[in-house]
């Protein structure tokens, strides 16, 4: 690779805590790497496992789910459910040949802009080490169609 690999990370954030925290990072002008594209959902409880699988299957190098701290969910307990879903999904994606670190869930409150900036930096570092989504690597190697059998 001539250019340095820049990961494409999908962020799925709840409106009330992490999305607000990410906004706070903005109003506080904290600088962090521009590798995350964010989808806003009302609560991480809305996280359908299919979203994560879809993102990986279309080539996302990582998925970062982030919501409220336990006890702080705007809808009381949505994050309990998403936390369980993500824990299972991490195992599941491993079965498909994705390193579990490609999926991560954090809990960042509306006041933790600095933590959001840190988490993004950290996630970018992790994914840089892991390299591009294996599916993309396989496609690049001209193994389209067989990638699934060969690689995973």
């Amino acid at each position: 690779m001539a250019e340095e690999f820049e990961p494409n990370i999908l962020g799925i954030l709840c409106n009330w805590c992490t999305y607000a925290g990410a906004d706070l990072a903005g109003t506080s002008r904290m600088q962090y790497p521009p590798n995350v594209r964010v989808i806003r959902i009302m609560c991480t409880g809305r996280l359908d496992p299919a979203f994560v699988l879809k993102a990986l299957s279309v080539g996302a190098d990582g998925v970062l789910v982030s919501g409220c701290h336990i006890g702080d969910c705007h809808y009381l307990a949505g994050n309990f459910k998403s936390r369980r879903r993500v824990a299972l999904l991490r195992k599941l994606i491993e079965e498909y040949g994705y390193d579990r670190e490609r999926l991560r869930m954090t809990m960042i409150s509306a006041s933790e802009g600095a933590i959001w900036a840190e988490v993004v930096q950290d996630m970018v570092n992790t994914i840089k080490k892991l390299g591009p989504n294996p599916l993309k690597q396989a496609v690049a190697a001209g193994q389209e169609g067989v990638a699934a059998d060969d690689e995973f």
């Binding site: 607000a20 906004d23 904290m30 521009p34 359908d48 993102a55 969910c73 809808y75 509306a110």
Partner: protein, 659 residues
């Protein structure tokens, strides 16, 4: 989608906030190349009147049926642009917002090219989402013509009086036996030196007399359900073991009670009985029996005491009361920083080191010493008193639980104490150890000059250590005078630690019940720090006073009045519009597995028999729109409106088109 999608994209420069980092014109040009985009344009401030007019006009001129604004955070201006879209004749829920400021140009200032790429990606994702959005109808529900105020310090008192005067039935809930809060403990108030009791007590009495206020003291909010306009609140009225309607406040029970305990109101500086009122001006003037210390000697029930009134009943249980209100104001106040954690100052180790609030009680005419300031060690009048300002404020020492913020009252109340000492004790010299004197309010700086002229001594520097002479109990204060650049040791009769104000412990429970957040300082988070400091992100819940952050009495009163005005708006309007973001069940696909029943935290999902088949349905009124049921439904039968699978999936697909 039968109708052809025609989306308009509006890119905001936000002055130079966005345009200073990325090429907004190029972004608008890029938007034009996206599927379903019929029109795109950029403008300096899309949120301004001309900007909104631009949206309305473009909708008509270009026959648009969807809009995307690429600008700041939807948490800031989504309502603005929804409205503009609706005014243009397009359903407001066909609008979507691309955040290219808070989550882009402000955080990627040094990487304009990558920021531009991100902006394109995000606009593409929002256009994809907008292409899938469906029109929704906002629901209007009636608002209960009543309000709840939690906490009856000066903030809660002010807010309740304003609401009540506006003709609104107000429930005022206070956890202590009396209303009045911290302000009722103060002697004089800076800088005017009004007597705190004299200005507060009449308000307390007004609260008790106002026919629109239902006062619930010694009570705590136990549960809250519902939403703006229709909150159901359960309040626990703790048992006083005294019937409020029978107690006439004569105080005979207190006279005969043999138990002695430190009075919390006086910070333990004076005792109270097990049958007590916290202070003589308490409202309501109803006695409370502290069962934790009561020895059940029954003396208070004898003929010489309560007697025929029969107001006392040791078996009186707590009562749970439910009220229905339209809006809620949180006015839960603050606590004082536990300055014992700063071991170098010897609080609670050396007798003559006291806190600001203890000094307040010592100086107060209604305090334990009748306003005679004395040294706790020997009862002598102090001739030299040191004040340690910013005791726990403006201090980044996290280990000691100190706070980085300014508490905004300590400089001024220490100046006031200095003045009172000079006035009360001839020859007494106050020494104020300060970092900066923050006398920012109306007539505050003038008050500072006054104390300088009266003989207050000001030393710029922090006190690093206090030691005690074990015999005389005099204190030696070590500090660096940073103006003279020299180390200083000074023997003083007494030291006052002007400790920080910190978020109240009791606010935590309310925060959880009302799903509020806090800011980094631990105080409750407002909807907007500048434009909406009295609202929260929970619709219908407002903040008054110190629970939102440190402020002095005039600011608390203004804040409380603002909260009351804001809380009365939905009530006076009579109805509120709710986001139609709730889940719906496609009963044909529902297999009746009941997975969603367990997932919903509000009990909004129900299982019913329809045509001989068990199917789920969602109670719109109970659903708050988190979408948890939808993502758990194994047959994909639940649709979370405005956040449907199709909408989110289209965003993910658009995300992937970036490479």
């Amino acid at each position: 989608m039968d109708e052809e999608k025609r989306i308009g994209v509006f890119v905001c420069h936000c002055g130079t906030n966005i345009a200073g980092v990325i090429d907004v014109k190029a972004l608008a040009e890029y938007a034009k190349t996206l599927p379903n985009v019929a029109y795109a344009e950029d403008y300096t401030y899309v949120c301004s009147t001309p900007g909104q007019t631009m949206i309305r006009d473009a909708i008509k001129e270009h026959n648009l049926n969807g809009t995307v604004v690429a600008a700041c955070s939807p948490r800031l201006h989504e309502p603005t642009f929804r409205k503009a879209t609706e005014e243009g004749g397009v359903n407001q829920f066909l609008f979507s917002m691309a955040n290219i400021r808070e989550q882009n140009t402000w955080v990627h200032m040094e990487e304009p090219e990558k920021a531009m790429q991100k902006a394109k990606d995000v606009v593409r994702m929002e256009v994809a989402r907008a292409s899938m959005l469906e029109p929704l109808t906002a629901k209007t529900v009636p608002v209960e013509k009543a309000a709840l105020v939690i906490g009856a310090g000066i903030a809660g008192i002010q807010a309740s009086l304003e609401l009540a005067d506006a003709g609104i039935k107000t429930y005022l809930v206070e956890k202590e036996p009396s209303i009045g809060g911290m302000m009722s403990r103060l002697d004089k108030t800076f800088p005017t030196l009004d007597c705190s009791q004299c200005i507060l007590t009449p308000k307390m009495v007004d609260v008790e007399r106002n026919p629109n206020i239902e006062l619930m003291t010694y009570s705590e909010v136990e549960d809250v359900s519902g939403y703006i306009g229709n909150f159901d609140v359960t309040i626990r009225q703790k048992s006083r073991y005294v019937y409020e309607d029978k107690c006439n406040g004569c105080g005979k029970c207190q006279e005969v009670c043999p138990v002695s305990r430190p009075n919390e109101f006086d910070l333990g500086l004076q005792p109270r009985k097990a049958a007590y009122v916290p202070f003589p001006q308490a409202v309501p003037l109803k006695f409370t029996i502290d069962m934790d210390s009561c020895i059940k000697c029954d003396l208070c029930k004898t003929q010489e005491a309560c007697g025929d009134l029969e107001a006392i009943d040791f078996d009186k249980p707590d009562e749970l009361v439910t009220v229905k209100v339209g809006t809620i104001i949180v006015a839960t106040g603050f606590d004082m920083y536990d300055v014992e954690r700063k071991e170098e100052w010897g609080y609670k180790v050396f007798d003559n080191v006291v806190t600001g609030l203890e000094m307040e009680r010592l100086i107060s005419a209604s305090g334990p010493t009748g306003g005679n300031v004395i040294r706790p060690s020997d009862g002598q009048k102090p001739k030299s008193v040191g004040f340690v300002l910013c005791a726990g404020s403006r201090d980044q020492d996290e280990e000691d639980g100190a706070k980085p913020y300014c508490s905004r009252v300590c400089c001024m109340y220490s100046l006031k104490h200095a003045h009172q000492l000079i006035e009360k004790i001839p020859g007494c010299v106050p020494y104020l150890f300060y970092m900066d004197i923050r006398s920012f309010g109306k007539a505050y700086e003038e008050f500072y000059y006054r104390i300088q002229n009266e003989g207050g001594k000001f030393i710029r520097g922090r006190v690093s250590r206090i030691t005690e002479d074990p015999i005389t109990k005099n204190l030696t204060v070590t500090a660096e005078d940073t103006l003279l650049g020299q180390l200083l040791e000074m023997e003083l009769d007494m030291v006052v630690l002007a400790n920080a104000v910190v978020p109240a412990e009791s606010t935590q429970k309310i925060k959880t019940l009302l799903t509020l957040s806090n800011s980094p300082d631990g105080f409750l988070l407002e909807a907007h720090p500048k434009l909406n400091p009295m609202s929260t992100t929970t619709d219908g819940v407002f903040l008054a006073g110190m629970c939102q952050g440190p402020r002095d009495i005039p600011d608390v009163v203004s804040h409380a009045a603002a909260a009351a005005a804001a809380a009365s708006i939905p009530i006076h309007r009579g109805s509120v519009t709710l986001e139609p973001i709730f889940a719906i069940v496609d009963q044909e696909h529902c297999g009746g597995c009941a997975t969603c029943i367990g997932l919903c935290p509000y009990g909004a999902t129900e299982l019913n028999e329809v045509d001989g088949k068990l199917v789920a349905s969602v109670n719109e009124a109970k659903c708050k729109g988190c979408g948890t049921c939808g993502s758990g439904c194994p047959s994909g039968a639940i649709k979370m409106q405005h956040f449907t699978n199709e909408q989110i999936m289209s965003e993910i697909e658009a995300f992937a088109q970036g490479w």
